[in-house]
Amino acid sequence: MWNALHSLSLRQTGIAKAALFVAALVPLARLVWLGINDGLGANPIEFITYATGTWTLIGLLVTLAITPLRKFSGWNWLIRLRRMLGLFAFFYACLHFTTYIWLDQFFDMQAVVKDVIKRPFITVGFLAFVLLIPLAATSTTAMMKRLGGRNWQRLHRLVYTIAVLGVVHYWWLVKKDITQPLIYALVLAALLGIRLIFKARVGIPVVMPGHKAELE
């Protein structure tokens, strides 16, 4: 079983991808289901905002976990799931942002602009969302080729900043109990720490024939 996971055929990777796609839609399906069945509690808008925000953060962290997992396990096929995961993080971020603009503020753009400028937690959240847009826009293979591998990689390193901003956004909005944001912060610190260790240990990336050097 373990060995079977070591190298997947393209078809098997496709199956894994399809399974992951369905799994990533479960949080949205749950919200719809709860919405239909009056299960969103006394403050449904708050519930939806919270849930979509949570899944954005989880999406980002899972995306960032791909490279370390791949390095530790040697399962190179994991890299084929990364783009989809990143796009799902963006998808939930869009839902989160839309909930805020539409359901929470009801397109009161004056209030939104004031909020974004005046409130640090909204500012960092908004910034994280804006930075996600170029990453989503350049996620296609064609865009990768147009930018060239190096530039593309440089641009996509923004994801580290985005993840930090996302965790800070969560941290600053809770009234007092920072247990949850702390968990996200620790996971993120571990994921970024691993990268630093690799970088220090590896120094100069070894380029395998037929492989691009990857040091993310």
């Binding site: 509690g41 708050e46 359901l103 909020d115 007092k176």
Partner: protein, 310 residues
Amino acid sequence: MLIKKPGELQTADVTPQEIYLQRRDFMRAGSALAAGLLLPGMAQATTRLTGMVKSRYSTSEEETPYKDVTTYNNYYEFGTDKSDPAENAHTLRTRPWTVSVEGAVKRPRVWDIDALLKAFPVEERIYRLRCVEGWSMVIPWEGFPLASLIRQVEPTGNARYVEFTTLHDPAQMPGQRSGVLDWPYTEGLRLDEAMHPLTILAVGLYGQTLPSQNGAPIRVVVPWKYGFKSAKSIVRIRFVEQQPKTAWGRAAPSEYGFYSNVNPQVDHPRWSQARERRIGEFFKRKTEMFNGYGDQVAQLYQGMDLRKNF
């Protein structure tokens, strides 16, 4: 085809007020009962309160459904999620229960809760409640003016503030095992705020004794201040000379001031207080100065800078 003109309203067409009020009571008792029956696993050991007097201080705004009032709570002693208190508060034992009234008073007294309930006639107060987080409810409380109790103990000249203390017992209150706040929860009012006729000690809501998650068996309700000023499950009321330290004031002094009057012009450092979402409504509404009780309470703060004394 005969087209009927809409006629004038006859006196007979209008529902008499007492019938209308009875209807409201009937609906309300029904919804409370239904909620009690339909919420499995919730400690619904509430009993019916009778002989309530209506109050001129009540609002006629639409009441927040019983289910929302009793399942969407901030009560950190039972957890920090809104749904935690309703799930965890069943461990609170509300009998035996005493409330110690002490400090700068001529006649301190330790009240047994049942004696306290007999001593002061309970009336209904339908109040708006505005939480500092930007949501609000309309809740039909049952209680009596705190002033009635204060007059009984006769505060001395040194009594300038009143301090309220919530029960501290991690065995009954699992949230107290975490250090999210400094336990016990304390709150305070200036003596004239405490004596104000709007300030009540609530012992029930929706015609039933208070559910544990709403602060059973007895709590303060100060309707023109943010919700956290209304301390729950009170065991001690102390009269003091110095402004008491409050739980939220200790936790974040720049965010939760001693006065914490509802004020749309003074934002919380991290969010706006200009608007609020009334639970059950889709659109936000404007937040009113003093939560709409300005006519009654504004004179308490004459000459005070409310931005500084937030």
